[in-house]
Symmetry: C2
Subunit: 152 residues, 2 copies
DNA sequence: GAAGATTGACGGGTCAATCTTC
DNA sequence: GAAGATTGACCCGTCAATCTTC
């Protein structure tokens, strides 16, 4: 019987869309960016030299290279990210976090955290959160191993 | 500190996309439909008379009325769903599962269940699944209460 | 010729405006 | 005039083809 699995999947799906929608809404309203855009800035911020090669960035964001080109176009246009082609290998393109990108990320981050506290944080106690993190972590490991996707 | 919340959110997000992508891929390959399309057929199948008013269906699928019109257009074109305007109230439109829709759903369902067993089912034991379902269920309840969305 | 990024065509949805029926 | 569905304009991403550089 796969009934319990279906119910579990539905719960996971609902949590994801409810929280994701809220993140998108709050980020759009308070920081002027979408969720992927926040994630992109965050990945750059965490990377050495605040820069990442396009293909690596695409894998981290779990979108296609073509998709990343578009997202990056938007962020470049707003001045939050810059492109750079290294002299050594002119096939590659690096995305680099700009100063105003740092500022936007800072504002976005506080809203991002706040939404997580108001959603995931509000309805579960310390222990439950830990257990939930542990099990979903185990699940992610298993799934990543089965369906080998690059370093996330 | 919101660090644990961020990690939890990332896990939830990853599980959702890994499983969702797999569902979409398998359904497209084996049943010729997408995940929302499967869900639409499934909701109709579960409804009394295998029919639902457009607006109610949109809420269950968590998409906008405009979006549903498009999805429905595709399914009507394939002959899996029919539209009907009730004589009593000609403002409303009902989506109705057709015979070939039933057949497609049957094929889609087996693949759907199989993917869930191969992903969620494969990496957690009975107890873990139960605990995970319980906590995500609690979370969904809490979130639904906070952000009042219609009957799902 | 293969690696890497971008582009064009498109799929799939949102949003605001519109049309019909109550 | 409000309820309900649809349409037009558009946003965001995918996919396959293309262009450049190694």
């Amino acid at each position: 019987m796969t009934r319990p699995l279906i119910l579990l999947w539905r719960n996971l799906y609902l949590v994801n869309t409810l929280v994701g929608d809220e993140l998108n809404a709050r980020l759009a309203a308070e920081a002027g960016c979408s969720l992927v855009e926040h994630d992109l800035l965050a990945w750059l911020s965490a990377a050495p030299g605040q820069r990442l090669r396009m293909l690596d960035l695409a894998r981290r964001l779990r979108i296609t290279p073509g998709g990343l080109t578009r997202v990056t176009d938007r962020l470049v246009e707003r001045g939050w990210v810059e492109r750079e082609i290294p002299a050594g290998n002119r096939r590659e393109v690096y995305a680099i976090l700009s100063d105003s990108g740092v500022a936007v990320l800072k504002a976005a981050r506080s809203n991002y955290s706040r939404v997580l506290r108001e959603t995931l944080g509000r309805h579960l106690d310390e222990q439950e959160l830990e257990a939930l993190a542990a099990m979903t972590g185990k699940l992610v490991e298993g799934l990543a191993a089965t369906r080998p996707e690059p370093t996330g």
